[in-house]
């Protein structure tokens, strides 16, 4: 985690013609939403995600991550490595709750699906 100093942005937010471009399809987040989040003071992928829901949907950012990182980096004028990445969350694909409920693990650490 690099050290980042944050102070209020002095320049006003400047809209761009392609701000309506849909970037995260799962959560319907546009390029403009991401640019505005950065302008509001958010500096990392994790922060932009929590603020705008980008990468929180069905694909968990696996589709849009590259694009989002580029937009954040270009808005901040920094290298893409300074932006961070989306963190994958289990389950990696949607699971029906009753299936999870059937998974039992006993004290020996053995999964038992007998039920």
């Amino acid at each position: 985690m690099p050290v980042i100093v944050r102070e209020k942005a002095e320049k006003p937010f400047v809209p761009k013609p392609d701000d309506d471009l849909l970037v995260c399809r799962c959560e319907e987040v546009t390029k403009g939403d991401i640019r505005e989040a950065v302008h509001a003071g958010l500096r990392t992928f994790g922060e932009v995600k929590r603020y705008s829901r980008v990468g929180m949907g069905l694909c968990q950012g696996q589709t849009c991550q590259r694009l989002v990182r580029h937009i954040i980096a270009s808005e901040l004028g920094i290298a893409i490595d300074g932006v961070g990445r989306v963190k994958g969350r289990a389950p990696m694909e949607p699971v029906i709750m009753k299936e999870l409920a059937l998974s039992r693990r006993d004290s020996k650490g053995v999964d038992d699906y007998a039920e």
Partner: protein, 381 residues
């Protein structure tokens, strides 16, 4: 070596921790015209504030912290979104705390009696009445406590709302910096040591969650907290079903539907103290299945619902289950707000008001926090 590009290294107040408590405190203190620097080891809203189901609950709170919850719900939550310029997604449609056995009902009745005596408006309802409020629950529910003024909000947008307002007020936030200790000068707190040099301030607010303990230890103060892990499911988006916040007498699970349409459903396996590897990835193989069984037991309707994500996080569980919100007499200049035990978010707007008063006038006047002192802990014998 200290890093010169960090700029300013002294302020009227240094806040340690960039979660909801730190951001809200920075907002309130900077609004008083004080210069504020917030130091955060990770990023903004990364700890328990970013891994948070967002309950704004008064019911079933310990009476020592109940005044904070009642104050926040009455005076701050309804207009907070407007104040911060964000949609906090605050919904006030009540909280049902469910019981399936006579022992559960006894526990709920005791809590209702205590909370009522402390001034909260809530009551016991029968299973049938509970199903009239929320028709989806199982017939196994035989009674519940019902607090119509409880609700929920979005902890992420609330935290970032406070953060943005604090920036507007000229507060400076430095992230990716780890506080390693505190130091006195002339009998009062003055220095904040970090892995990137020393900062100085007249006042320090310590609200770093679980990490607060180690930091307070460097000036001889110990708050008995343990790290406790929890997991939360995010379901697929569902049509509107009900808006009540759910909990159970035995804390089997908790949750609610979000504005976005997903349900957030969280809890623990009961084995979490012994199964987590405590390395920053506290998800374990017991919790998700256990939580699923608990949820389906109370709400069969969820059996066929898809879970699309889960997250795990940890909080600072206090020895007696309520936070420390207090100035520290032995260390003039130090204000501690930690040990929130997993239910800090709902009271955070009120806690930040108490913190502001503790810092600026030396005592919390609007809200009684006298039972939440740092020196209340006593050994058994």
């Amino acid at each position: 070596m200290p890093n010169s590009r960090l700029g300013k290294r002294s302020a009227d107040v240094i806040v340690i921790g960039g979660g909801v408590m730190g951001c809200a405190s920075a907002y309130r203190l900077s609004a008083e015209g004080l210069s504020v620097i917030v130091l955060e080891r990770d990023e903004i809203c990364a700890g328990a504030s970013g891994r948070n189901a967002g309950g704004v609950r008064q019911s079933a709170r310990d009476v020592r912290e109940l005044p904070l919850a009642i104050y926040a719900v009455k005076n701050i939550w309804p207009t907070l979104g407007e104040e911060l310029g964000v949609d906090t997604e605050y919904v006030q449609k009540g909280n049902l705390r469910l019981g399936r056995t006579e022992a559960h009902l006894e526990k709920l009745r005791m809590s209702v009696t205590e909370n009522t005596e402390a001034g909260l408006d809530l009551l016991m309802v029968t299973g049938t009445e509970a199903r009239e409020i929320c028709p989806y629950m199982s017939e196994e529910v035989i009674g519940a406590s019902w607090c119509p003024t409880d609700g929920y909000a979005n902890p992420l947008l609330t935290t970032f709302g406070y953060y943005r307002r604090a920036l507007d007020n000229k507060a400076i936030f430095i992230t990716g910096i780890t506080v390693t200790g505190l130091g006195k000068a002339g009998g009062a707190l003055r220095k904040v040591y970090t892995d990137d040099g020393v900062f100085e301030a007249d006042r320090v607010v310590l609200c770093a969650g679980y990490h607060s303990r180690a930091i307070a230890n460097t000036v001889g103060i110990d708050i008995p907290v343990e790290r406790e892990d929890e997991e939360v499911f995010v379901t697929e988006q569902l049509p509107p079903m009900f808006d009540q916040v759910l909990g159970t007498a035995d804390a089997d699970f908790y949750g609610h539907r979000t504005k976005h349409g997903s349900f957030l459903l969280g809890g623990v396996s009961g084995l979490q103290h012994f199964t987590s590897n405590h390395d920053g990835h506290p998800a374990d193989a017991y919790t998700a299945p256990s939580l699923s069984r608990a949820i389906i037991g109370f709400f069969p309707v969820f059996a066929d619902v898809k879970i699309i994500r889960s997250w795990s996080g940890h909080f600072d569980a206090c020895a007696d289950g309520v936070p420390v919100i207090s100035n520290v007499e032995e260390v003039p200049g130090l204000t501690i707000a930690c040990a929130f035990t997993g239910h800090g978010f709902g009271i955070s707007p009120a806690v930040s008001l108490a913190i502001k008063e503790l810092v600026t006038v030396g005592e919390s006047r609007a809200i009684d926090v006298s039972e939440l002192r740092y020196d209340r802990f006593r050994a058994k014998q």
